[in-house]
């Protein structure tokens, strides 16, 4: 059953591709939605009956067997993979349904549904894999489908550029992951995750010799793994592709760039947590990069005008929280935030999609306004999503995010205290950009032209239905499930799969957290609400003035800390220059002229000489024979 729930999306993809030209787009869409719903139901059933079966590995067949290297096609069935499969299938199903409405008029909608199915399959393969090679296949598969979906509207140049950018930046991370896999094989001699977990402790003192430098092998592996995760999860430095990826259709952003693919990095770290735990250096690095990403992305999000880019940076920032949790060894909390984030972020994206849909494909929030009574359902769901994102008490985001912050506070190390402060600051920024988005889109005076305004309408039910379902999850998920991730009974279940610091359970947090620090995020949120009210309502006349005065600061944030520009000036420019040079001078002038072209010209000219030597005169021939004879004799006599 679990097996089927993984492979049904693949069937959906094949169905869409094969019957693309035989059935209408609507039929294809509905059938793929149906297939995905079946997959979700099946994964729900297998999750529900999880305790009956317990952990197991479903072996499909042997894949590669070469010497001591052996890899199987297999599916790992445990709490982690099972719940992840359920989440992916569930969100994917909702997004399939949403896409039926959103892509209604697109001529290539069958292909789109197919790609969504293929993506879902690769993601499920990634999360359910029992070995790193199969995981890597899923990892690359989601990268590929992400590329295809970002560039889905390939008549737009910007979409193509964004797709290529996403692919290339991800390749850097993938290279890190590949190196990590190689190193793991060299050190452990196996790629099976369960076996690695057993072997970790006995290898905790092993060193890896690279070019005469001794490196602690597990630190090396962890850092390389983290580089891989940085690419996929858009962490600071390799984050540049995520905002650009918003060129894809909105359902894609919701599925890939909010709920599933970008969380693959976090998932991998959670999966390999016993390994990471051995290396203190890697944990620190993850904590630092995570908090940097968190604060960076949140600060940039405040200054963006594109509705989807704001949410994209928000995703980036929330991923930073997850990495902070990983860095603080609170893996179950990272996983908790991963899932609750998936719900409310998918909700936000889909809501944004609904707004864009109703505004006739307008994405700039400066051109919107006053929508709250025109599209009330979307407004309501966006509010719910934003509140959950900010972490207002009793919404999902509150439970997962506050627990991470509390854990950071309780870890008594200097680094985690800094991380705690950064996290708090990011909470403020989160409040600011979320409210800014809500205010600009829904409350201020409408800036759109009349044509657009006249056309504003609430999205059809097929689009609002996923919004409603996701809203319910954004509100209640955290409330009902937080004990699964922090309660002391469940921690023992988790500890069989991932690393769990059992002392950090519910009771411990309640007992040790001073009440002021516990309420501090809430206070900050309230401050944020007040500040944004002041800025956008009371003092909105001064906004342009402040902007002008602080132009440098404003530009710094608006241009995303100039990171894209720096990359362009250094790596991209260098690569282009080198590439052009190699192409022109090395390939075309040197290799082509000396190689294929030059060679053939040379041979051909020699051929002409040989043919010309054939003069037709008999005495020339006789002479050549005599010369040949003499040559051979003299060669023999004098040289040999």
């Amino acid at each position: 059953m679990f097996f089927l729930s993984i492979f049904i999306p693949l069937i959906s993809y094949l169905f869409c591709v094969i019957f693309k030209s035989y059935l209408s787009g609507k039929q294809i869409s509905l059938i793929s939605c149906g297939l995905l719903s079946i997959a979700t139901t099946l994964s729900l059933i297998s999750f529900y009956f999880f305790h009956i079966n317990g952990d197991s590995v479903v072996l499909i067949s042997n894949w590669i067997s070469s010497g001591s290297f052996s890899v199987d096609w297999s599916i790992n069935f445990n709490l982690l993979s099972c719940s992840m499969v359920l989440m992916v299938n569930f969100v994917s199903t909702l997004i399939h349904i949403y896409s039926v409405g959103y892509m209604n008029k697109d001529p290539k909608r069958s292909t789109f549904m197919g790609y969504l199915g293929l993506f879902t399959f690769f993601m499920l393969l990634l999360v359910s894999s029992n070995n790193l090679l199969q995981l890597f296949l899923g990892w690359e598969g989601v990268g590929l489908t992400s590329y295809l979906l970002i560039g889905f509207w390939n008549y737009k140049n910007s979409a193509n550029d964004a797709a290529i950018k996403a692919f290339v930046v991800n390749r850097i991370g993938d290279f890190g992951l590949l190196l990590a896999i190689f190193t793991i094989f060299v050190v452990f001699g196996t790629l099976n995750i369960n076996e690695i977990m057993i072997l970790v402790n006995s290898y905790s003192d092993s060193y890896f010799n690279f070019l005469g430098i001794k490196i602690h092998s597990i630190t090396l592996i962890s850092v390389l793994l983290f580089i891989g995760c940085m690419g996929k999860s858009a962490q600071f430095g390799l984050h540049t592709w995520l905002p650009d990826a918003m060129e894809g259709p909105t359902p894609v952003s919701a599925l890939i760039h909010a709920a599933t693919m970008v969380t693959a990095g976090v998932f991998l770290l959670i999966l390999m947590s016993p390994l990471i735990e051995v290396s203190e250096f890697a944990s620190k690095l993850i904590l630092i990069v995570g908090s940097l990403t968190c604060i960076f992305a949140a600060s940039v999000a405040i200054f963006q005008n594109d509705i989807k880019k704001i949410i994209a940076y928000s995703t980036c920032s929330q991923l930073g929280y997850m990495f902070m949790a990983v860095g603080a060894s609170a893996y179950s909390l990272a996983y908790f935030h991963l899932i609750s984030h998936a719900f409310f972020k998918a909700l936000l994206f889909l809501g944004a999609g609904s707004v864009i849909h109703s505004m006739s494909d307008e994405q700039n929030i400066k051109n919107m306004g006053g929508l709250y009574n025109k599209i009330p359902l979307t407004y309501l769901t966006m509010i719910i999503g934003s509140l959950s994102l900010i972490g207002v008490p009793f919404f999902s985001g509150y439970f997962s995010k506050d627990l991470i912050l509390e854990t950071l506070f309780l870890r008594d190390s200097e680094l985690s205290s800094y991380a705690f402060l950064t996290g708090l600051l990011a909470v403020l920024f989160t409040t600011l950009y979320s409210l800014r988005l809500i205010i600009y889109v829904f409350h201020r005076k409408s800036m759109a032209d009349e044509k657009v305004v006249a056309h504003i309408h609430e999205s059809p039910f097929i689009m609002t239905f996923p919004l409603i379902v996701l809203s319910i999850f954004a509100i209640f998920f955290g409330m009902f499930s937080n004990s699964y991730f922090i309660g002391s009974d469940y921690l023992s279940v988790w500890s069989e799969i991932i690393f769990v610091d059992k002392s950090f359970n519910e009771n411990f947090i309640y007992e040790n957290m001073p009440i002021f620090y516990k309420k501090l995020p809430l206070i900050i949120i309230i401050c944020g609400i007040i500040i944004s009210y002041l800025i956008y309502f009371s003092f909105d006349k001064f906004l342009p003035v402040i902007k002008n005065r602080l132009r440098i600061v404003h530009n710094f944030f608006k241009n995303k800390w100039y990171i894209d520009e720096i990359y362009k000036k250094t790596f991209v420019f260098l690569a282009f220059y080198l590439g052009k040079g190699f192409w022109k001078s090395v390939d075309r002038d040197l290799i082509d002229n000396l190689g294929p072209n030059g060679m053939s010209k040379f041979v051909s000219s020699i051929g002409l000489i040989v043919s010309k030597m054939q003069s037709g005169y008999l005495y020339h021939y006789v002479l050549s024979i005599i010369i040949g004879l003499t040559l051979l004799i003299s060669l023999y006599t004098y040289i040999f």
Partner: protein, 475 residues
């Protein structure tokens, strides 16, 4: 005595000569059929005694499996050429009773060549086959080109004879005998071989190289191939090559086997030259027969490589190469014979263009033959080239192997250009349709043979290996 194939052949030839007097002018085909019958019968005698070993005429000739095998191959070549003569409608110039007679004479010469065991008998038999070939080359009296080719071939051939005689005299002067067995005896008795003896051998080698048109003694080949009638070219490029290679192998391996170090180097030079000239010279040719001449030179270079180590394997590979080379060459020349426009023979490469559209079957077979010549797997030419290269590499002659491969690539270019011209170029003027169903069938058989050899290469390997054994084991 009468069962010795050469004697039988000579008597049969005389009988046909007598019959020819009574045959009417326009019924020369009858003589062709008679010659074919004679060749069949001789073939029977050859094959009957293929495992016989005997030294006859006071050690002047030797009958062994190697010789018998080559005789059989020569007879097959000649049989095919005479069969072509029968089935293809010839020019009036070829339509004379002497044609098949002269071929028979040259075959007798070749058969004697491959069983000669003495420089003297070898000389006489070479002369016999050469004189016959001179006549054949200049057979169409009206054709200026043919006469020119005849003169060239004759002069070069005479020169070759002179060189051969001079070399022989040097060897006789040093050894005191012209018999191979005695030369061999002399060689094994000596501590160091006199320089002049090797010089004499080089003279003989050069003379034989002229016959097989190995570069740099190839100059006559393109002119003679182009000038002589196509049927004669078909004969010229197959049977004499086999015979001369037989002689070359016998001379080098048996009496001069002791000084393999010396003649090996000479052969390396000859084969490198031949492969280079053969592949480069053909690049700019526009005449199919001239191109085939260069192709022959290239193949000869390849075959010579196999002889460099002087080992059993090498000679086995040479035998296989010769068999496959003959099938390819005969097939292509069968097509050239049938290449006509408005009843006139044409041989330009551009005449091939668009052949696929009018004659798909013929074009396909021809493409197979050309691919086989280029050595493209899995055709026969690939197998033979592979065997030779294997031998070369086994003997650590890597530079030779590299040159061979490079020249093969270059020569693949002009073969594939022909195929491209047949399949993809649009025809300027279409050739006459090939109405001759026997030619069609035969060409298909040649093509099919080249294609199917990959399924039973072991047969040829075993056959040639057992043949070569006689050259080494029985002495």
């Amino acid at each position: 005595m009468i069962y010795i194939p050469e004697v039988f052949m000579s008597i049969g030839f005389l009988i046909i000569l007598i019959i020819s007097v009574f045959v009417k002018k326009n019924q020369n085909i009858v003589l062709g059929y008679l010659s074919l019958l004679l060749i069949f019968l001789t073939q029977f005698f050859v094959l009957k005694d293929i495992f016989l070993f005997e030294e006859i005429f006071n050690n002047f000739f030797v009958i062994d499996s190697f010789g018998s095998f080559l005789k059989s191959v020569i007879l097959i070549c000649a049989g095919f050429v005479i069969y072509f003569y029968i089935i293809v409608k010839n020019d009036s110039s070829l339509n004379r009773s002497e044609f098949s007679m002269i071929i028979l004479i040259s075959i007798i010469g070749m058969m004697l060549m491959v069983s000669s065991n003495d420089l003297l008998s070898l000389f006489v038999s070479i002369e016999l086959q050469s004189l016959a070939l001179y006549i054949l080359v200049s057979f169409s009296k009206e054709d200026f080109n043919s006469s020119e080719a005849g003169v060239k071939y004759f002069v070069i051939g005479s020169l070759s004879t002179c060189i051969f005689l001079f070399g022989s005299s040097l060897i006789y002067g040093l050894v005191g005998s012209t018999n191979f067995s005695e030369i061999s005896q002399f060689m094994s008795d000596q501590y160091s071989v006199p320089l002049l003896l090797v010089v004499g051998l080089i003279f003989i080698l050069v003379s034989l190289s002229l016959k097989i048109s190995a570069a740099p003694f190839h100059m006559w080949t393109p002119d003679v191939y182009q000038g002589s009638p196509s049927l004669v070219t078909a004969f010229l490029s197959t049977a004499p090559k086999v015979a001369v290679f037989g002689v070359l192998i016998r001379v080098l391996v048996y009496p001069f086997g002791e000084i393999i170090v010396d003649w090996g180097k000479i052969l390396v030079i000859l084969s490198i030259f031949s492969m280079l000239i053969g592949s480069l010279g053909a690049l700019r040719q526009d005449d199919l027969k001239r191109l085939m001449a260069y192709s022959t030179i290239n193949h000869i270079g390849f075959i010579l490589m196999g002889l460099v180590p002087g080992s059993e394997d090498g000679i086995t590979a040479i035998c296989i190469y010769l068999i496959f080379y003959i099938t390819m060459n005969l097939g292509v020349f069968l097509f050239i014979l049938n290449m006509k426009r408005d009843q006139l023979n044409v041989t330009k490469i551009k005449d091939l263009s668009g052949l696929y559209k009018t004659e798909p079957l013929i074009a396909g077979c021809l493409a197979l033959l050309f691919f086989s010549m280029a050595g493209i797997p899995p055709l026969a030419g690939f197998i033979s080239k592979l065997l030779i290269l294997n031998i070369v590499i086994d003997n650590n002659l890597f530079f030779l192997a590299i040159i061979a491969v490079i020249t093969s690539v270059i020569s693949a270019f002009y073969y594939i250009r022909l195929v491209k011209s047949m399949f993809f170029d649009s025809p300027t003027e279409e050739l006459d349709l090939l109405t001759n169903s026997q030619s069609k069938l035969l060409l298909s058989i040649f093509g099919l043979f080249n294609l199917s050899v990959i399924f039973y290469p072991q047969f040829f390997l075993n056959l040639c290996a057992s043949i070569t054994l006689s050259l080494f084991a029985l002495r």
